[in-house]
């Protein structure tokens, strides 16, 4: 599809999946992971995408310029576990055309 971007997502078992994510459906990265069932239901996006649970934490491994972290995301990550410098909450990253080639890895479940 014209509006799709290619994204590489490494799941919690270390397997990398190359997937196409639509940019015209107001989807965020957590929802893309769920739509491709790359993490078991009930282990990701528990709060539904309100930056309130950190179950969609991921590590961004490519140099894409992503939307700046808002206060709620930063606060949630400050209480999450397995946090690294490149940690983000997937639910706060809306898929846009400039994310072509994005590479992310899902953080362990906690």
């Amino acid at each position: 599809m014209e509006q799709d971007v290619n994204i590489k997502i490494t799941d919690r078992d270390g397997n990398t999946h190359e997937i196409q994510a639509p940019t015209d459906m107001a989807m965020n990265l957590m929802e893309v992971v769920r739509s491709y069932e790359l993490a078991p239901e009930g282990t990701i996006g528990i709060c539904g995408g309100m930056a309130m649970c950190a179950s969609c934490q991921c590590y961004v491994n490519s140099n894409h310029e992503l939307p700046e972290m808002q206060d709620d995301e930063e606060a949630m990550l400050s209480e999450a576990f397995y946090v690294k410098d490149n940690s983000r909450l997937g639910c706060q990253i809306q898929i846009t055309p400039d994310m072509e080639g994005l590479e992310v890895e899902l953080a362990p479940e906690s």
Binding site: P40, E41, G42, T43, I46, C47, G48, M50, M52, C53, S55, D71, D72, E74, A75, M76, S78, E79, F81, Y82, S110
Partner: protein, 350 residues
């Protein structure tokens, strides 16, 4: 032993609406929930968030939805076992079930409706290697009785409302309260943040930020925590360490009840009545799965309504019933109240 017609596991929106639908069929309900208050995720995680897809409510706060569901089902006098997790289920010779909680409370009912959402909320435990050694020995993840901390030295970790609220509360109870958080900023109500600031200024709370507890030590029970602040590491003596990093739902013991589980959810017969593979046990709302399942509150309401009709047949075998409309029949509460539409006025025009 608590006896009821429908035992509902989970007091979230779906569980609460079940009470109303069951009440219309003159069936009594009792609810068990691991959380100390009804509402499930709506009251625990996002009470102040608006929901936009509840039919006829263009916008309603999750906390208000809970209040309204409680108000709607009040006349059917539901019983509640709150702050306890449903742990075991045993089928009796008469076909009924006995469900026992982690605190030993027993409930008996001919029908069990699991409306457990994503599961029971369990505390998220920080990744400290030996933390398990001190559970029950100075490490608590939930504060149940503040008096337990009277005249003790307490270290609390976390940056949300519960860490702030308990630090404030315990500052009057404990001999020493230390709050440790990874950042200088806290994610809580402004009032709470300001109160902690004030108590810090008064020397009633010691605040260590940005810092983290990375180790625990003590012979048999906790005596100190190791705190890492920047590059510096130091010990802080204490009698209790209370990490408050929020709650995460786990399907938990229900997973061992012999129910068919798929994708962390309970498989049900959706073409009929949301019954599980065990007759008499139903699963409704976010906890179930079937082809085309959507985890929406409004779908939970629908599932609860259909489930109650099947429960009626189990509890009253062979007894005739036909769906009635509340606009026509009104609502007769178990508390003796009656709601009904006013009769139409018939008057001649001269």
């Amino acid at each position: 032993m608590i006896k009821t017609d429908i035992l509902i596991i989970g007091a979230g929106p779906t569980g609460l609406f079940t009470v109303f639908e069951a009440g219309l069929l003159k069936l009594k309900c009792h609810l068990i929930d691991a959380l100390p208050q009804p509402g499930g995720q709506c009251s625990e995680i996002y009470p102040k968030k608006p929901i936009y897809d509840i039919p006829a409510y263009p916008e309603i706060l999750a906390g208000d939805l809970t209040d309204k569901l409680m108000e709607q089902c009040k006349q059917f006098e539901p019983g509640f076992t709150l702050g306890e997790r449903a742990d075991t289920i045993e089928k009796q010779d008469d076909g009924s079930f006995i469900v026992t909680t982690n605190k030993g409370t027993k409930h008996q009912a001919p029908v069990v409706a699991i409306a457990g959402g994503l599961g029971s909320f369990e505390p998220r435990k920080p990744l400290i290697d030996n933390i398990g050694d001190y559970e029950e020995n100075g490490v608590e993840y939930i504060i149940k009785d503040p008096e337990f901390y009277r005249d003790k030295r307490v270290v609390i970790a976390g940056g949300g409302d519960s860490a702030l609220d308990w630090s404030i509360f315990l500052s009057d109870v404990a001999s020493e309260v230390t709050l440790i958080h990874r950042r200088n900023e806290f994610r809580g109500h402004l009032d709470s943040v300001e109160k902690v600031q004030e108590l810090k200024n008064q020397g009633k709370i010691e605040l260590i930020t940005p810092a983290e507890v990375i180790g625990l030590e003590g012979e048999g029970r906790i005596e100190a925590v190791t705190v890492k602040k920047g590059e510096e590491e130091f010990k802080k003596s204490c009698d209790h360490f209370v990490p408050l990093f929020g709650l995460s739902p786990k399907l938990g013991p229900i997973a061992n009840w012999g129910l068919e589980i798929e994708k962390n959810a309970i498989k049900v017969n959706n073409s009929l009545d949301y019954q599980t593979n065990i007759p008499g046990i139903f699963a409704i709302g976010d906890v179930n799965t079937y082809p085309g399942k959507l985890k929406l509150i409004l779908c939970g309401f629908h599932e609860a309504t259909l489930m109650c009709q099947a429960a009626y047949q189990i509890i009253n075998p062979g007894k005739r019933y036909v769906l009635k409309y509340t606009t026509v029949s009104g609502v007769d509460g178990f508390d003796g109240t009656r709601k009904e539409a006013p009769k139409a006025v018939v008057k001649a025009i001269e």
